[in-house]
């Protein structure tokens, strides 16, 4: 293995680097060139203009509050859900998987719009409902605010955090907790002094991924932030390109460079904090039996809490979507609205050949892209966790590169790159672009999973005469199944609803769902948009079920 590793690392660095560096290099060129393309005369103007803006300070402050806040919400909730699900005897456990994944499937723009309908200060449904309570007649909870943005973005990033935390939680070595209890630690003390610290790599991974994601997020800042006149970097970048008809993506890239730098710094911080990964090896052959904590009296109250969360996370937005898809235009629920309900929007969508083509393309990209992406992620995560050289650090940073760039800019980077290849305007550009950009969705859960496979388990396979690939196939991959399933689900659902790259790269014949949804949104056709959105959720649900069933079939440990 020693020799093979030395080939694997550079090979992966070359591959991942090629995928992620090329668009970023194009953007760097673009940010230093005059004109609107990637190549022009050298200029620093775009940086000077971008960074001398007097408003930048306030925007950065907003961004920091928004990004930290939403990551805390996402990680905190994910931790709670993962803990309750994997470690306690809370009833109806199947609900957790659903709760954690559904927001993953809802296009972010729709999710944000649902929340506007629920909580806008004029006639948001929740506000209207609460105003009927005496004493609250003048209540106006305002979603168009920083807390509103933090809440919605936090909920949107929850699935990513959950899918990283749950497998780690599930394979936690119970003896570590037991020894704390033996030492006299109460359940809570054990949780805070042992369980959480031991899970630190997974928690940090979840938190940092949420940070990076919310930093690049555009849906929430534009749908909720802009009307509240709260600008963060993503919307600031949008403003800088959208003012005027000649959108200057080079300038946007120039501002985006600081976002990129921040993200990469975060990733290095994360690596530094978890550098002693051996400390956290938690699956060994002995400790692979997480025990269940009895909630006793708290069982149903805790479940009630989860119930409320799932109401907020799934039931409300999906109901709003369903409702919107059936009423002829945006209306407040009323007798009149219900009397006007019909399947009109659904029928229009089903009869639209481009919508059907986009459905087909998205399913293809979801299934095939996620499979390919997870395969690549297994190798990348392996090198990151098990090789841990400077080169593997480079690889980890590379895997985050295009992911860290603000979404609206990276698509243009890919276009500038792909137009120089024969793949331009084929579905392969989407496939490659998706995998390159969302590689962390596969790499993160797999890294968490890898960290927990003790190196002895692999080494003993080698001693038994198995080469690196047999070891990978028979020992490592089966033990990684929970991580693989998480990664596949994250990637597949992401690819099914991917918008930022698709909107730039899709051409006739390669239309995808999100682009179709985006067109509906541009035209303000919320009905068709919601109908297609629900179809999208159904497809994603099917993919998630598929992955879960396959994962259960190859469950690593027989009970």
């Amino acid at each position: 293995m020693v020799n093979k590793r030395s080939v694997l690392t550079p090979a992966l660095i070359a591959l991942v680097g090629f995928l992620t560096v090329c668009p970023v290099v194009m953007l760097i060129f673009g940010s230093f060139s005059t004109g609107l393309g990637a190549f022009g005369e050298f200029t620093l103007d775009k940086y000077i203009q971008g960074y001398t803006d007097p408003e930048l300070g306030g925007i950065i402050l907003n961004t920091i509050i928004f990004v930290l806040g939403s990551s805390f919400v996402a990680t905190g909730l994910a931790l709670l859900l993962a803990y309750l699900n994997t470690r306690t005897d809370i009833p109806f456990k199947f609900m957790f998987r659903i709760i954690s994944i559904i927001p993953m499937m809802i296009p972010h723009i729709l999710f944000s719009v649902s929340w506007v309908l629920l909580l806008n200060p004029s006639n948001g449904l929740i506000n209207l409902f609460l105003r009927q309570i005496p004493g609250l007649e003048n209540l106006a909870i305002n979603i168009y605010s920083l807390p509103g943005m933090i809440l919605v973005e936090g909920l949107l990033d929850l699935p990513i955090a959950y899918l990283i935390l749950a497998p780690a939680m599930a394979s936690f070595d119970i003896s570590l907790e037991e020894s704390s209890k033996v030492c006299g630690g109460s359940t809570l003390r054990t949780l805070f002094r042992v369980t959480l610290p031991v899970l630190r790599p997974a928690i940090l991974a979840a938190f940092i991924l949420s940070l990076v994601r919310s930093l690049a997020s555009f849906a929430v800042p534009s749908v909720i932030g802009m009307p509240g006149r709260i600008y963060v970097l993503a919307t600031h970048i949008y403003q800088s390109i959208a003012t005027g008809f000649a959108a200057d993506f080079g300038k946007a890239a120039a501002i985006g460079m600081s976002v990129l730098a921040t993200s990469i710094t975060l990733i290095y911080v994360y690596r530094y904090l978890t550098s002693e990964s051996e400390k956290y090896v938690t699956i060994s052959s002995r400790g692979y039996r997480p025990s269940v904590i009895e909630l006793k009296g708290a069982r149903y109250p805790m479940f009630g809490l989860v119930g409320i969360l799932s109401m907020i996370l799934i039931v409300l937005p999906v109901l709003v979507l369903l409702y919107t898809s059936m009423v002829p235009y945006s209306m407040i629920p009323s007798a009149k609205a219900f009397s006007m309900m019909s399947w009109k929007h659904w029928i229009e969508v089903i009869n639209d050949p481009i919508s059907l083509l986009s459905l087909k393309n998205s399913v293809f990209l979801g299934v095939f892209g996620a499979t390919l992406g997870v395969t690549l992620s297994i190798f990348v995560a392996y090198v990151i966790v098990k090789v841990r050289s400077h080169a593997s650090g480079l690889l980890e940073s590379l895997s985050f590169l295009s992911f860290s760039f603000p979404g609206i800019v990276i698509g243009v980077g890919f276009m500038w790159f792909f137009v120089r290849t024969p793949l331009y305007a084929t579905i392969w550009t989407l496939l490659i672009g998706y995998i390159a950009t969302y590689l962390p969705y596969g790499v993160r859960p797999l890294t968490s999973a890898f960290v927990q496979v003790h190196s002895h388990l692999e080494e003993s396979s080698q001693v038994c005469g198995a080469g690196p690939f047999t070891t990978m196939r028979r020992i490592v991959i089966p033990l990684l199944i929970p991580g693989i399933v998480s990664g596949w689900i994250l990637m597949a659902t992401m690819f099914v609803r991917e918008l930022t790259l698709s909107v730039v790269l899709s051409r006739p014949g390669t239309e995808v769902l999100a682009v179709q949804i985006f067109r509906f949104a541009e035209d303000g056709l919320w009905g068709q948009l919601s109908a297609l959105g629900i179809m999208m959720i159904i497809i994603s649900t099917a993919l998630v079920l598929l992955a879960t069933l396959v994962g259960m079939k190859f469950k690593p440990v027989e009970e």
Binding site: M1, V2, N3, K4, I283, S284, S285, R286, Y288, R289, H454, H456, L457, E459, S460, S461, Q462, V463, C464, G465, A466, G467, T470, R474, I475, P478, L479, P556, V557, E558, E559
Partner: protein, 362 residues
């Protein structure tokens, strides 16, 4: 199968410093014997084992297993672990939690593409050998620690390797089970006529299990020999100290006589086992094992190798008394017959046979 290691070095770099995990180690491990690498943690014993297995790549050196060179940095040979045909039991056992007992044990045969029926019969035979008959279908995670340990052993043995390696395999077992397993293991290995390399930091394990013990420190092998020989005839202060409870007293050589070497030290002058390599005036360490310090009733205290001391503490442990005596400023551990009638506070004479007064260096 004999294993020959020549000039093996392995360095680690950490924080700008070079740590010599193995410092130019050369040794020959005889065939079909139980060979133990004993030493404190960080002495390089596990690194040496992992180099033999091929899980670590040394910086320089050569390793030959039988006639095959599996590693030679000079000739640029590195046979990967999977092609070295060895068996190994890991400290954590490394039982694969996603497989049942049968598949865990069958794995080495499966990787070698052995026919299915042969696999079945060999696995059954091996499981019988380690007394786990009928456990084939158990999930590996549903076994006790001792059972897992035996599964790991069965897996290491099933492909009939010429060499089997153990990396502290008993350290996760409780004391009683450890003792039993140690005994069983010695019987298994002796019966199999197999070269076994065993790594441990536990001296009792090393002494009771091995045919040959090599004591390691600071990436080097300090002494190597049969257990009794190492224990009774340690040449080095480190070995004498590590391999058993002992009193180490700084001393100076006063004279070389025909059959003994004479030294002076803080508790008197002693005639010791002859060590020809010393000269009068040399600084040495006198090593007195507590069990060889005998209570001397009556008699003159000026006799050779006799010293008088006051008993400071005394613990009755059944098969013996263990205690400390005070002689001038020094404290000496003793271990004496359980029927002695000594008490704390008593003053008594103690004597040591010159043959048990060991002079060690460094």
């Amino acid at each position: 199968m004999e294993i020959k290691i020549t000039n093996l070095s392995k360095y680690y770099y950490s924080g700008g410093k070079t740590i010599k995990a193995l410092d130019n180690v050369s040794l020959s491990i005889p065939a079909n014997r139980i060979f133990t690498l004993l030493g404190p943690s960080g002495c390089g014993k596990t690194t040496l084992l992992r180099c033999i297995v091929g899980l670590e790549a040394p910086d320089t050196g050569e390793i030959k297993i039988g006639e095959d060179t599996v590693l030679s940095t000079e000739e640029n040979i590195f046979v990967p672990t999977e092609n070295r045909g060895l068996g190994m039991v890991f400290q954590t056992y490394a039982i694969w939690p996603h497989m049942d007992v049968f598949n865990n044990v069958a794995y080495p045969l499966q990787t070698r593409k052995v026919p299915k029926d042969v696999i079945r019969s060999k696995v059954e035979k091996t499981l019988r050998f380690v007394q786990l008959e009928g456990f084939e279908d158990r999930p590996a995670t549903k076994l006790s620690g001792g059972q897992q340990q035996r599964v790991a052993l069965a897996r290491a043995l099933v492909a009939e390797p010429k060499v089997i390696l153990f990396d502290e395999p008993l350290s996760n077992l409780d004391a009683k089970l450890r003792e039993e397993t140690r005994k069983d293991l010695r019987i298994f290995l002796t019966e199999l006529q197999i070269t076994a390399i065993y790594v441990t930091h536990d001296r009792i394990e090393a002494l009771s299990l091995s045919d040959i013990v090599a004591v390691m420190n600071g990436g080097q092998i300090v002494e190597m020999g049969e257990p009794r020989d190492i224990y009774l005839n340690s040449n080095h202060r480190f070995v004498a100290d590590f391999i058993g409870r002992t009193n180490l007293i700084e001393a100076k050589v006063t004279a070389q006589e025909e059959s003994v070497t004479k030294v002076d030290c803080a508790i008197g002058s002693f005639a010791c086992r002859k060590r020809a390599d010393l000269n009068p005036g040399d600084n040495v360490t006198l090593c007195l094992r507590p069990e060889f310090i005998r209570l001397k009733r009556g008699g003159a205290s000026e006799a050779q190798n006799v010293f008088n001391g006051q008993i400071e503490s005394l613990v009755f442990i059944g098969e013996a008394f263990e205690g400390e005596i005070k002689i001038r400023e020094s404290q000496i551990f003793i271990k004496t017959e359980p029927d002695s009638d000594i008490r704390v506070g008593d003053s008594a004479n103690f004597a040591v046979d010159p043959d048990h007064c060991l002079l060690v260096i460094r």
